[in-house]
Symmetry: C2
Subunit: 206 residues, 2 copies
DNA sequence: CGAAACGTTGACCGTTTTCAATTACAGTGG
DNA sequence: CCACTGTAATTGAAAACGGTCAACGTTTCG
C-alpha cells in the first residue's frame, strides 16, 4: 500500500542524510529540538509518548516507505520518542530546508498536500476496516479493497504475518480465516495471489 | 478531539456554500465531477465505494468538524459516494477557489499541510489504539491520551455510546470496562469527568 | 547445513459480542 | 403539569469468536 513520498525531491539531495539505526536506538527523543522529519527506508520505527505519570503510550509504528513526524515540522520540539524496533534505515529531511522549499515553491506545497491527503484517505479506510468484527469478513474487505482485474485478483507480496498486524489480527486468525474463506468458496488461493469469487453463483458446487 | 479546520478561511466566505442533507441523501456520487471538498458541520456522512462486483466498501464516516474528500482536490471525479446517515449540514469549499488560494498564498498551503499532518498524527494514534486488545486497557489508553492536569482529568463531553464507536467497542463493553476500572481503583468517575488514578499506590485500600 | 522466519492447524480459555431487560432522563405535545 | 417517547446508561446471561499456547512442516538464507 505505501509508496515512497515524492516530496523528498523538493529538497536538494545533498541536504538529505541517511541514518542507520540499531534495534532500540533512538532517532530522536521527546523534548528534543526538531531538526528534521524522516522517511523510513527499511525496518520499523516506533513512536512512543511519555506521560506525566511515567507511563508510555504507543502512537505509531512507521514501516518502510512511511513518513515520520511530519507534524513536527510545525513544532519546536518532538512530542514523542522515535525508537527503532528492528535494524532500520531512515532518510532525514532537514526541517528548515523543507520549509523554505515549501514556501518558495507553491507547487511543492501542493504536492505535499496531495500526498498527505492520500495518506489520510488510506488511513481512514484502514481504520474503518477495523470496525469489521469478523475476521473472515475483515480480510475479505481488505482483499476487495485491493482487488484488481476480472476476475478480481490480489497479489500478496509480503508475509501474511505482516499483513495480519496491519489488519489487526493474529497470524493464526488470518490463516484460519483464509482457510475458511477458501473452504466456503469465497476466495481461491494460488501462489502469491488470491482470487475473489463473486458473491453470486457460490453454491456448494463440485 | 476534532477541531474545525482553519483553512476554510482561505476561501472567500461568499464562495462557501452550506448544504443540508436528509438521512440517505447523497452529497455526491462516485463518478461525479469534483466540484468541492467539504467540512461536516453537524451530523455524519458516510463514504462508500462501489466495487466492480456490485458490493460496497465502507471507507469512512465523517463526523462533525471533519473534512471530507480532501483527496478529491487532486482528482477529476469522486471515487466514492458520500451519503448522510443522519440529518447533516456541510460546508462546501469549491475546488477551484481552494486551489487558486493555495497556489497564490504559500502560507495558506503551509496551513493546510499543517492541518493534514496533525490529523494524520491523530488518526495514526487512533489506529494504534485499536491494537490494544483488552477493552479496559484500550479505554485506559484512550483516557490517558487525553488526560490533562494533576490529577489527570478527562472531560467527557459526549455520550459514551459515541465514544464506544470511535474506540471500536460496543457500548456495553465500554460500560463494563469502565465499571471494572473503577472497581479496581484505576479510574474515578464523576459527573462528566474521569479521574485517572496513578499506577503507584493502588492497593485495596479502604 | 542449521537457524530463523513463515505457514498451518488443533485445543482451550477468556473476552467481547449479542440479545434482552431495566432505570434514568430530557424533550414534546396535550 | 404530566403522560409519552427516545436516547443514554447499566447490568445479566449465553454464545461466538479470536487470542494464546503448542506442535510441526516448509522455506529461506547466511
Amino acid at each position: 500500500m505505501p509508496e515512497s513520498p515524492s516530496w523528498i525531491t523538493l529538497v536538494e539531495p545533498t541536504k538529505l542524510a541517511r541514518r542507520q539505526l540499531q534495534p532500540g536506538e533512538a532517532l530522536f527523543r521527546q523534548g528534543d529540538a526538531v531538526t528534521a522529519v524522516y522517511v523510513v527506508q527499511t525496518g520499523r520505527v516506533r513512536l512512543v509518548r511519555h506521560l506525566a505519570d511515567g507511563s508510555t503510550l504507543a502512537l505509531h509504528a512507521a514501516r518502510a516507505a512511511e513518513t515520520l513526524a511530519e507534524a513536527a515540522l510545525f513544532a519546536d520540539a518532538y512530542h514523542c520518542d522515535a525508537v527503532a524496533e528492528v535494524p532500520s534505515e531512515v532518510t532525514a529531511v532537514p526541517k528548515p530546508d523543507l520549509l523554505t522549499a515549501l514556501a518558495a515553491h507553491p507547487e511543492a506545497a501542493l504536492a505535499i498536500t496531495r500526498e498527505l491527503a492520500a495518506r489520510l484517505r488510506d488511513l481512514r479506510a484502514q481504520l474503518e476496516l477495523r470496525n469489521v468484527r469478523s475476521a473472515p469478513e475483515r480480510i475479505l474487505c481488505w482483499l476487495r479493497m485491493r482487488a484488481d482485474g476480472i476476475p478480481p485478483l490480489v497479489r500478496i507480496d509480503r508475509p501474511w504475518t505482516e499483513i495480519a498486524a496491519e489488519i489487526g489480527l493474529t497470524h493464526e486468525a488470518i490463516y484460519r480465516a483464509l482457510a475458511r474463506l477458501e473452504r466456503e468458496g469465497r476466495i481461491r488461493r494460488g501462489d502469491g495471489v488470491i482470487r475473489l469469487c463473486s458473491a453470486r453463483r457460490r453454491g456448494r458446487s463440485v
